[in-house]
């Protein structure tokens, strides 16, 4: 890692304290909307409210994996010196949010259908596959010494991930026909008004939260690398 001081500040267009305040405000607002404003679902009642978290976390997780792959591509293509670390941090956040998807998904499955795990829920199964895949990404990354080869391998593997997402999704959809003929429909036809507003605010809150965490981790890692450089110097 040959980070230079001038480069450390490159990605920092919005200062971290601003991001932290924005996260706090948005998350509070989202919680208020989810619990006090959004109407109860006609079928599922109060417990349907986990949908606002579950879906926005899932979307955020996809976005993190996408960002990780984009940075990986930047690394391989443009040899951007920070892209490897950025890719790793994005994938790391993606895995954290992916674990949350599995957690909220199982809670929702238990309250709605009475089982902790439902194989017929496409998203849940896809996230399990992705979780296994990206867990192996960490195994790979920590099994190679830091250096250009590790950066290349991690980048290629992160790119495999974005191809695996649609392919696995197709495969899981195909397998549903085979194993479970019926597919649960997630939300009713009335997806508007306060439901939409609440969802959008919750989505924005989780996205800003993820971006803040990404920036905090990245800054920490960069400072760490810089410190190590100074010690060696």
């Amino acid at each position: 890692m040959s980070g230079h001081n001038g480069k450390v500040g490159r990605a920092h267009r919005i200062p971290l304290p601003t991001l932290a305040v924005a996260t706090f405000v948005l998350v509070t607002l989202a919680l208020a909307l989810v619990f006090f404003v959004a109407p109860n679902d006609a079928d599922q009642g109060f417990r349907q409210r986990i949908f606002y978290f579950h879906v926005s976390i899932a979307f955020t997780s996809y976005l993190c994996f996408g960002a990780g792959a984009w940075k990986a591509l930047r690394h391989l293509w443009k040899r951007d010196p920070h892209a490897d670390l950025e890719s790793y941090v994005a994938v790391h956040q993606g895995v954290i949010f992916g674990a949350l998807v599995l957690l909220t998904g199982t809670i929702w499955a238990k309250t709605s259908w009475g089982h902790w795990w439902v194989w017929s829920e496409d998203q849940l199964v896809l996230f399990l596959v992705l979780f296994l895949f990206y867990a192996a990404y960490f195994m790979l990354r920590y099994s190679v010494d830091p250096g250009p080869q590790r950066a290349n391998m991690s980048a290629v593997y992160a790119l495999f991930g974005v191809v695996l997402v649609p392919v696995s999704f197709m495969a899981i959809r195909l397998s549903q026909r085979l194993i479970h003929p019926q597919v649960f429909t997630r939300h009713g036809a009335n997806f508007g008004g306060w439901i939409l507003v609440t969802y959008l605010v919750a989505q924005a809150a989780v996205l800003v939260l993820a971006y803040t965490l990404y920036r905090v981790e990245l800054t920490g890692k960069l400072i760490d690398a810089r410190l190590r450089e100074l010690r060696l110097a």
Partner: protein, 212 residues
């Protein structure tokens, strides 16, 4: 044309090594037959034939893992990979040749394994055979790639199944679908798509795994 010559020379080298040393294929054959016997006793009596054709796919994946774990061992032990990277040939030729050789081993193992499966469990249907052939292409393309990745790490053989199995899940879904579904064409099409996508990706990305 030199590309084809490079690939065929490298693949011939692997096949010749196997022909002389007989390292991989006999162990694959013994393994797959042992797995079938284990399966017979792990299936409770009265379980359906559908379960058996699912187990065939487990056997294929694990037999392939056995071959893939061995695939880059000669390269690693004799430091051949360093020499190959230095050689004036396209790096993707190394991947393609190794995939072809692994495909040959896997196909040879299946030539024995499928009749044994038919003998022990249930007859092998045409779509199942097509599914096995298509899945083999994907298994060898992706497996060779992650095999090359795994040998470059400290964990080596330990890492290979961890890297390979999540990538192989779509292949298993497609393969099982082709074996048991009433409309296998959809699943065969999916397997073909998987092969195409991942073969292209591996072909394009292999250079980054072997070059520092």
């Amino acid at each position: 044309m030199t590309y084809v010559a490079d690939v065929s020379a490298l693949a011939r080298k692997d096949l010749l090594l196997e022909l002389r040393a007989k390292d991989t294929l006999p162990s694959m054959l013994l393994f797959v037959v042992s797995v079938f016997v284990v399966f017979h006793f792990s299936l409770p009596s009265g379980s359906s034939d559908v379960a058996a054709s699912g187990l065939l796919w487990v056997a294929i994946i694990f037999t392939a893992l056995l071959a893939l774990g061995r695939a880059f061992v000669p390269e690693r032990e004799q430091h051949v990979l360093d020499a190959l990277v230095l050689a004036p040939c396209d790096r993707s030729a190394i991947w393609l040749a190794k995939s072809i050789a692994t495909f040959a081993f896997l196909a040879a193992a299946e030539v024995v394994a499928l009749p044994v499966f038919a003998l022990f469990f249930e007859p092998v249907s045409g779509p199942m055979l097509a599914g096995v052939a298509l899945a083999d292409v994907g298994i060898c393309a992706v497996g060779t790639f992650v095999g090359a990745t795994a040998v470059a790490t400290r964990a080596r053989e330990l890492l290979l199944p961890l890297l390979f199995l999540p990538l192989a899940i779509p292949l298993v879904i497609g393969g099982v679908g082709a074996s048991v579904a009433t409309d296998p064409a959809r699943y065969l099409g999916f397997l073909g798509l998987y092969d195409l996508l991942f073969a292209l990706l591996c072909w394009a990305a292999f250079e980054y795994v072997v070059v520092e």
